[in-house]
């Protein structure tokens, strides 16, 4: 038992050494990634099953404001109930839970070359990212994800619309 503990401890030291070595060599890259200065990594290889590998870019809160100012479309990926309770001022609702039903109307209304920013309930919520991927697959050229989502926007005191703000 002690032997196993020692082996696991040595494995942890090995992992720590490797991690430290990698971080030392790629310090700037990691720092840039965590400070949001890097584009999201893109896979440059051909997809195996013909499915697109394009991923939506991340958008910071000021970039969302910029997108709104330049006639971009802010898209709320949350459920209609949450959208009604409160959403970013001017945001369009396109719930990820009803995407198959709601997407055709969205495609008709919004031109493919317009800038789109998706959001949902913050960093733990995957819907904005999934919606971004779906919109790219549908042909939209400029899709970004505001990962901070509605909570970050609301907490920053920026304009919201809804029953309970």
């Amino acid at each position: 038992m002690n032997d196993l503990k020692r082996i696991c401890l040595e494995a942890c030291v090995l992992i720590a050494f490797g991690t430290l070595f990698g971080l030392t060599l790629n310090y700037q890259l990691v720092m840039d990634a965590f400070s949001g200065q890097l584009a999201p990594p893109q896979c440059e290889t051909e997809p195996v099953a013909g499915i697109t590998n394009a991923l939506p870019l991340p958008a910071m809160i000021d970039e969302v404001q910029q997108a709104i100012a330049f006639e971009g479309v802010v898209v709320d990926a949350r459920s209609p109930e949450l959208y009604t309770m409160g959403h970013i001022d001017g945001a369009v609702s396109l719930p990820m839970v009803e995407i198959d039903a709601a997407l055709p109307a969205f495609l008709e209304k919004i031109a493919k070359d317009r800038a789109i920013v998706t959001y949902c309930s913050g960093f733990g919520c995957p819907d904005s990212f999934d919606l971004g991927v779906r919109l790219i697959e549908s042909g939209y050229l400029n899709v970004r994800v505001f990962e901070g989502g509605y909570p970050e926007w609301r907490d920053a005191g920026l304009p919201v619309t809804g029953e309970s703000r």
């Binding site: 020692r6 082996i7 696991c8 040595e10 494995a11 030291v13 090995l14 992992i15 050494f17 490797g18 991690t19 070595f21 990698g22 971080l23 060599l25 790629n26 890259l29 990691v30 840039d32 990634a33 965590f34 949001g36 890097l38 999201p40 990594p41 893109q42 896979c43 440059e44 290889t45 051909e46 997809p47 195996v48 099953a49 013909g50 499915i51 590998n53 991923l55 991340p58 960093f123 990212f129 991927v133 990962e147």
Partner: protein, 151 residues
């Protein structure tokens, strides 16, 4: 029989060593491209993809070197086994979600085009080698044959 065990042990150890040294070394050549492959799994947030891509290849490389040198074999096997297990979980999730991506296990620059299913099978094989090496290492006199062999 002991000789056969010794040969199989060293063979399995060397195969694992070379596989992981190669996998680590080739990924360190293009960390950003590897981050792209990690991102394609759609498991981690953006920045974490870069963090994993910046560190994982070096852990693979280091563990491979230890196996090659026949020192700290069991800690290296635990590390490699743990990583392979994580890869298998990630690949299974890719299969379940039907993402259809290239596994990015070895060549981040492209040209590998190995499906998640094939990569999963390969990982099962690697895991079997890890278990075999561990078992033979524990079974008896297959290491360097001296008392001062480490782990």
């Amino acid at each position: 029989m002991k000789n056969m065990s010794r040969i199989v042990y060293h063979l399995a150890r060397l195969i694992l060593a070379l596989v992981f040294i190669y996998a680590g070394a080739v990924k360190t050549q293009d960390v950003v491209a590897f981050a792209g492959h990690v991102a394609a799994y759609q498991i981690l947030p953006y920045a974490m993809n870069y963090l994993v891509a910046s560190t994982l290849p070096y852990v693979e490389f280091l563990a491979g070197i230890l196996l090659l040198l026949n020192v700290r074999v069991r800690p290296a096997l635990v590390t490699i086994g743990g990583m392979t297990l994580v890869f298998m979980v990630a690949l299974t999730s890719v299969l379940v979600r039907d993402l259809g991506i290239d596994c990015g296990c070895f060549d981040p620059g492209g040209g590998e085009n190995v499906t998640a299913g094939a990569a999963l099978l390969r990982d099962v094989g690697l895991m079997a080698l890890v278990v075999l090496t561990w078992w033979l290492r524990n079974a008896g006199d297959v290491g360097r044959g001296t008392r001062n062999e480490t782990s």
